[in-house]
Amino acid sequence: MLDIFGTMNISASGMTAQRMRLDVIADNIANAETTRTDEGGPYRRKNVVFQEVLNKAMGIRGGFTNTLSTDQLGGVHVDSIVEDQRPFKLVYDPSHPDANEEGYVQMPNVNVLREMIDLINAQRSYEANVSSINATKAFASAALGIGKG
């Protein structure tokens, strides 16, 4: 079993991951109208990929090789940031300097509404991790209160 700080570290990793997700969502919202990038073409929506962290080095305590010990649990980390490969939106705006011959501009494949929902999701997940840290602390405090009743 992990010590109480190990449990807190798991929650901290979740919070860090959600923070990185917030960075990516903020970038998506900020670039929702961006038509120029270093690679050429409009901005592509970015997405985070989370991966579970397992400490394989920790010994397996169970009797079966496929059982996990909680010692191995390490939380989550952001594996990579990937680009959304969905097509760009075409907007008719002949006055735009990046418009093509027919007057259409390629706009980023960012849906601001979708980003807002992801934002709320990230916020709630972050808060959930805070709750789990508070619960961890409550466990410890309760244990320290043994015999005081």
Binding site: I4, F5, M8, S11, A12, M15, T16, R19, V130, I133, K137, A140, S141, L144
Partner: protein
């Protein structure tokens, strides 16, 4: 603390001879164990050191955050929380030790 006074056993062994036997056994095992066990002072010192490390880590995190080296606020708070938790734990243990000491000092001889 296997050689502490077991309340259940002391209740069941009302036979005085058995009781005496048990006390002698306990004393004998204490003498034997005393040599191999690390002394109380060392255990206390090590525990206090680890608490101190937590405190220092929390202060370091605050400094780093003020200097702009840490971008995650929660890291700072969590480290401070860990330090506070270990200090609370230390205080609880300390209170227990002081209570035990007072209890013994109050004993009528």
């Amino acid at each position: 603390m296997s050689n502490g006074i077991d309340p259940i056993n002391s209740l069941t062994s009302l036979d005085p001879i058995k009781r005496l036997e048990r006390i002698q056994n306990t004393q004998a095992s204490q003498v034997k164990k005393g040599e191999a066990e690390p002394d109380f002072q060392k255990i206390l010192n090590d525990a206090l050191k680890s608490v101190n490390v937590q405190q220092k880590d929390a202060i370091q995190a605050e400094d780093d955050f003020a200097a702009g080296k840490i971008s995650n606020i929660h890291d700072v708070i969590i480290r401070a929380e860990k330090a506070a938790m270990s200090l609370t734990m230390t205080m609880e243990v300390r209170n227990k030790i002081v209570d035990a000491y007072k209890e013994i000092m109050r004993m009528q001889l």
